[in-house]
């Protein structure tokens, strides 16, 4: 299942010494500016082209913030974010516009990321039109087919779909634009295991077929083990472990990684698990 040791791919993303902080509104003084909380503390990493990289860590580790920098919803305070040879960290919105189509995102909660008043085909077609990539009903149907949803779903509304089906629509919307990079932020955490398995195998097949580079954010190491080629473990805004999944899972370097692995309840009887 895991592909044979692939030769080193050129990096699609190359990140150097990335820093990011948010103002700490809870401790804002009466006058002057609020102190800042450092969320990302000098991250250096590469995302190789055509590979799926898992980003894992506890709540507050900065994994979603890192994701948002990759798709440039957030700009770094300092450091370099190079996408395809271009430093995109400092670009303004006008300069980013031509790149936006290449950087797509699938969200955690499809109920709030799919327009509830639009039929499925329009949800998929609208961004295609915006980026001049077609946008007819027929184009949307093609994307639906790729995610394994029959034509009859085109005229449904998001609330008429199950959680797994909604997440497929989210994937269809992203891949319809033929992006080079997809950020998937906790896209299966709201689904039960069976729908989870369906959505993940779909994502893996599509990513490999289309040669997509994917950053897969999750708190679930079991899912990352089976989906991803590489993994980055974050803790309090720092990388504590990284490498090919097999290496990191079998020889975790950091205690954080070990603790995360130990805390996974496996579906087997083990009376000493709590000890």
């Amino acid at each position: 299942m895991t592909d044979v040791m692939t030769p080193p791919q050129p990096a699609l993303f190359s990140i150097k010494d990335l820093h990011l902080s948010f103002p700490d509104r809870a401790h804002r003084p009466l006058f002057g500016t609020a102190p800042r909380i450092e969320v990302l503390k000098g991250l250096t990493l590469d995302l190789p082209e055509g590979r799926i990289t898992g980003i894992v860590g506890e709540s507050g580790s900065g994994k979603s913030t890192l994701g948002r920098v990759l798709v440039r919803l957030l700009a770094p305070d300092a450091g370099q974010v190079t996408f395809d040879g271009k430093d995109i960290g400092t670009l303004d919105e006008d300069a980013l516009r031509p790149l936006r189509r290449d950087l797509q995102m699938i969200f955690q909660d499809p109920m709030s990321s799919l327009n509830p008043r639009h039929k499925v085909w329009r949800i998929i077609a609208q961004p295609m039109k915006r980026y001049r990539r077609g946008g007819t009903r027929a184009d949307a149907l093609k994307a639906l087919e790729k995610v394994g949803l029959p034509e009859s779903f085109a005229d449904r509304y998001p609330h008429e779909l199950s959680g797994g089906q909604r997440q497929r629509v989210g994937i269809a919307r992203a891949i319809a634009l033929e992006p080079r990079f997809i950020l998937a932020d906790e896209i299966v955490s709201g689904l039960d295991v069976s729908s989870q398995a369906q959505v993940l195998s779909l994502l893996k097949t599509l990513a490999k077929d289309m040669g997509l580079t994917v950053a897969f954010i999750s708190h679930d190491l079991s899912v990352i083990r089976h989906l991803c080629d590489d993994v980055i473990v974050l803790n309090h805004g720092e990388i504590v472990d990284s490498g090919p999944v097999q290496t990191v899972f079998e020889h975790p370097k950091s205690d954080i990684t070990k603790a995360l692995l130990d805390a996974i309840p496996r579906p087997e009887i083990n009376d000493s698990w709590f000890d």
Partner: protein
């Protein structure tokens, strides 16, 4: 009221129905001994949360019990007047909900939210309620109880809020706790701690727990008995070790197989086979036909 030999909970042929007659629970039977944890497991829509809601008398508007019996500590709940039933349930049972943020009142401090039920429902003095609350907060490893009691829910982390709700649920040493996916929203490390707390407190107080979850990994760690549900029907009911070592029903095996593990050896991404789901739906249909015949006789 307290029958010493009675089971904590006995559910007999419970049917829960929408106003249009569609059944959400179909002849569900299960029982719970004092001090026992029974996992209710299944996919979305299997009816696992509905069982807990029916027991606690908090079914959503329009959904009602159409047939069947619920015995709480030997007391037939349907035989009671609504007011007595509410009182009986409140005095013997508690809920640990999935989302602690919606379960806590955002504009009240934590302290009174825990102590109010103890004084109002259980008739304790304020001093006793406060002492017990502090004791429980200490048990769930909250280091600074005074600060927490004076906080508002939004000032605390998700793991902290869930620990508070566990403390609140266990404070009156209830006979029954319904834990409805209490760890689904939490990180694995926090989940492990929360599961450990529930297990410790439940063993100490002898509380019976109905533990609703879709995670077979959690089932394996926390429960002694398992009820597997599909489409509102009980598919399998067995001791936990048997569910994992020798599951009888193909659906139980499929659920276990679909649960991802961090081992490389397990085959990834095995959804429940569509053929099996179709077969289960046919069984439900046949069941419904029998049910409507029974109803029209």
């Amino acid at each position: 009221m307290n029958n010493l030999h009675a089971k904590t909970l006995d559910i007999i042929n419970l049917n829960v129905t929408l106003p249009n007659g569609h059944r959400l629970l179909r002849d569900v039977s299960l029982s719970l001994d004092p001090g026992e944890v029974r996992a209710l497991v299944g996919e979305s829509g299997a009816g696992k949360s509905m069982i807990g809601k029916a027991v606690l008398g908090i079914l959503p508007t329009g959904i009602s019990i159409s047939q069947g019996e619920i015995l709480l500590e030997g007391t037939h709940l349907n035989a009671l007047t609504p007011a007595t039933r509410r009182k009986t349930i409140a005095q013997t049972s508690a809920l640990i909900p999935q989302d602690p943020l919606t379960a806590l009142n955002p504009v009240r401090k934590i302290g009174p939210q825990i102590t109010d039920p103890l004084t109002r429902i259980h008739g304790w003095t304020k001093a006793r309620a406060l002492a017990r609350t502090r004791e429980l907060l200490d048990r769930v490893h909250i280091r600074n109880p005074d600060r927490v009691l004076n906080s508002y829910p939004h000032e605390l982390s998700g793991g902290m809020r869930q620990r508070i709700l566990i403390a609140a649920a266990f404070a009156p040493s209830p006979r029954l706790i319904v834990a409805d996916e209490p760890t689904t929203a939490l990180d694995v490390t926090v989940q492990k701690e929360i599961l450990r707390l529930i297990r410790e407190l439940q063993r100490e107080t002898g509380t019976g727990v109905l533990f609703v979850t879709h995670d077979m990994g959690v089932v394996a760690k926390i429960s002694q008995k398992v009820t597997v549900l599909f489409g509102g029907r009980v598919v399998e009911d067995a001791p936990t070790h048997r569910i994992f070592e020798n599951p009888e029903h193909a659906y139980t095996r499929a659920l276990i197989a679909a649960t991802p593990t961090p081992n490389a050896s397990t085959e990834p991404f095995r959804p429940v086979p569509p053929a099996l789901i179709a077969e289960l739906h046919r069984e439900i249909q046949a069941d419904d036909d029998r049910f409507s015949k029974r109803a029209h006789r």
